[in-house]
């Protein structure tokens, strides 16, 4: 071993490991042994996944039973837009004849009736949905 080899050898750094190293290492080894003996490490994720699947399935099946017995919520009539378009059509110009004015007023009255019908339909839908919600589920 020449001088340069000795130089390298002298470059070694010395430290003192922490005093808890042996106990900490043995503690981890012992815990690992217990876990392996019962296969907890292997089975825990599998059991956890199964539990999640069972819970999700239970929630879904109870939810579908509740809603399947209910009356479907009726949708409001789609005719509102067409009747509104009629109602919003331009009024007759000043000096128009009586026939045009009567037609216009008739259209307005028809639109108002349609609006009332739509509102009743919407109210009925809300009542239906409230009725579904208030039915107790077991």
């Amino acid at each position: 071993m020449d001088k340069f080899d000795q130089t390298i050898k002298n470059a070694k750094q010395e430290i003192t490991p922490s005093t808890t190293f042996v106990d900490a290492t043995m503690g981890k080894i012992t815990n690992k042994q217990v876990r392996n003996r019962w296969n907890i490490k292997l089975w825990a994720p599998v059991l956890g996944s199964l539990a999640v699947v069972v819970i999700v399935f239970a929630v879904l099946s109870s939810g579908s039973n509740t809603f399947s017995s209910k009356t479907p919520i009726s949708k409001p009539s789609k005719t509102t837009s067409s009747s509104s378009q009629t109602a919003n059509s331009a009024p007759p110009a000043t000096g128009a004849d009586n026939t045009s004015l009567a037609n216009y007023l008739g259209g307005v009255a028809s639109s108002m009736n349609q609006e009332n019908t739509d509102q009743n339909s919407a109210n009925q839908s809300v009542n239906d949905s409230q009725q579904v919600i208030t039915v107790p589920t077991n």
Partner: protein, 180 residues
């Protein structure tokens, strides 16, 4: 503890007396932590790697080949873990080491021939070497393993280990003496 006693302890552990493993941890932990510290340069990480090595050695003790020393097998496991760690952190460590190492004025060959280097200077130069060269230097100079044992630890032929050690020394010499 003699080698025969060590083999007896290993047999007892394999037959179920896990607490006997404590003797092996007590015997080798200091040398292993110091070895890893000289590779990694961080005591906390060195101890984590050493602990992981002991746990793996325990779990795979049935695969241990008694033809080799237990220390050789243990260092092989530890160096594999350390090597992966060093490869992961290589980029940042290397940049930090290079920035620290670039000297303002390198000594000429004449000035350097008889120069006595500080431990810090040598250490810093060793830290710039590739990981495998640092491993070879640590195992050969600081942990006193011979070529054959290092070949087992690093899973390379003895000739490769000789070559790596020679190149490591040459690179280190160039780094220290400023030769290119």
């Amino acid at each position: 503890m003699t080698d025969a006693q060590e083999k007896a302890i290993i047999s007892e552990i394999l037959s179920g007396e896990q607490e006997q493993f404590r003797f092996l941890v007590e015997r080798y932990h200091r040398g292993l932590v110091v070895h890893l510290y000289n590779l990694i340069n961080d005591q906390h990480t060195a101890e984590d790697v050493a602990q992981e090595a002991f746990i793996r050695a325990y779990n795979k003790l049935s695969q241990y080949n008694e033809a080799y020393a237990f220390s050789t097998w243990l260092y092989k496991i530890a160096d594999n873990i350390a090597y992966r760690h060093l490869k992961q952190t290589k980029k940042t460590n290397d940049f930090a080491a290079i920035e620290e190492l670039v000297p303002d004025d390198k000594p000429s060959l004449e000035q350097a021939t008889d120069r006595i280097f500080t431990q810090e200077a040598v250490r810093s130069s060793i830290d710039t070497l590739p990981v495998i060269y640092r491993q070879v230097i640590a195992l050969y100079y600081w942990d006193n393993f011979n070529y054959e044992e290092i070949a087992v630890i690093m899973e390379r032929p003895v000739g490769t280990i000789r070559t790596w050690l020679h190149r490591a020394k040459e690179d280190l010499r160039k780094e220290l003496y400023g030769q290119v």
